[in-house]
Symmetry: C2
Amino acid sequence: MGSLDDVAARLVDGTIEVIDLTAPLHADTPILALPEPFGQTEPFRLHEISRYDERGPAWYWNNITTGEHTGTHFDAPVHWVTGQDGDDVATVPPSRLVGPAVVLDVTDRVAEDPDFLLEVDDVHAWEAEHGPLPARGWLLYRTGWDARGEDPAAFANADDDGPHTPGISVACARYLAEETELLGLGVETVGTDAGAAAGFDPPFPCHGFLLGAGRYGLTQLRNLGRLPARGAVVVAAPLPIVGGSGSPARVLALVERTS
Amino acid sequence: MGSLDDVAARLVDGTIEVIDLTAPLHADTPILALPEPFGQTEPFRLHEISRYDERGPAWYWNNITTGEHTGTHFDAPVHWVTGQDGDDVATVPPSRLVGPAVVLDVTDRVAEDPDFLLEVDDVHAWEAEHGPLPARGWLLYRTGWDARGEDPAAFANADDDGPHTPGISVACARYLAEETELLGLGVETVGTDAGAAAGFDPPFPCHGFLLGAGRYGLTQLRNLGRLPARGAVVVAAPLPIVGGSGSPARVLALVERTS
Ligand SMILES: [Mn+2]
Ligand SMILES: [Mn+2]
């Protein structure tokens, strides 16, 4: 019956494994760069307070500068104007931070086309093979983009036309928001929308439709290739910033060990 | 057998409940204040980037200033000189971020004496009633101090002699580090050590012994009174700051719903 005592025992004996879906945070963690005149998010930076020295003889610690949307992070509904009456990152119910997750893998198609956009038919084809998208769960969209995560230029993949990174079509974003009961969408790229999504009609459809429908976003995920297509339980753990639009987040997956 | 499919179903039907052990983060979140000439941690602050305006017409977001040890946070072994060869907050194995937790409640005794210190005999008395401390699990030390969490002066509870907040005796801190297999110690106060611990011999024994033994600290926890004495599974989710001594953390507990 899935008692927590059993889960605790299986965590200790290793038959339930914890997989870290979070990108490490450091000064070179890729961040979104917007065109002028828009405001910009800060990169992640540490400012040393003391390191076993006269500023603190027995202790080492740092202060931090970052953005809410820096590194692996959680988008709350209020991040977008369509969700402005919805939850901020501190009012998202804790029950919605832990749930089942499925992985839809299009790595092969993105390798051929970095501007690849997921369509509704792709979702239906995945469901025909793996069953329905989970109610109150995450769709994790695997594109292989996490392999670029330590190379900001390759991660942004921009040319004179702007960034070329994979995403979701306008119709599919609307479908996920309006026709499913997902908690939200998790991606490997810098944001939930495709690199070209500023030019879509409407622009930034994942942000507009999903956050407007009270769903969440998770970005810059790693290690999705280590998850089964279905069966993982994901803990998405943003900081509870009062009034915050999002937060850097630790994202952990529990999976049945198969080997 | 505690399968993850069962856990996912029980999260969805609500028979497993998610309890948030994290204090909300805002500009008045209490922080540690050290005497001169030591370096100081920053309070938590937001700096607005845009809010559906000319700086970002469809989006709201903020930059953040904080300390690694601000609000509910995770102490990694390298935070203390005794643990300087141990894990930083990014190298703590993910398997050690999810585990069983027990709650030892001394609220009544702290109400009579804010300088109350837990002794080894108190731990043994608790074990006689509730069973052994969990291997690879957390000891969560409930003192009632979380009721002061939105009042920084009451939370610090300082007079001319310094802060008066509850903690753990030198002998008990050594016992927990050397004679148990705990992941670490979680508290409701600003740090794992008592307010008077700068004057102990050795000073700051929870930091020195526990971090020196590769264990962790969790601070400023809330809602421990909603957990059973044993049976919760706790997810401690610090940000994976490369080289970091700790991190603000989201801390969530899974519990069997009893009502
Ligand atoms: Mn974002
Ligand atoms: Mn600390």
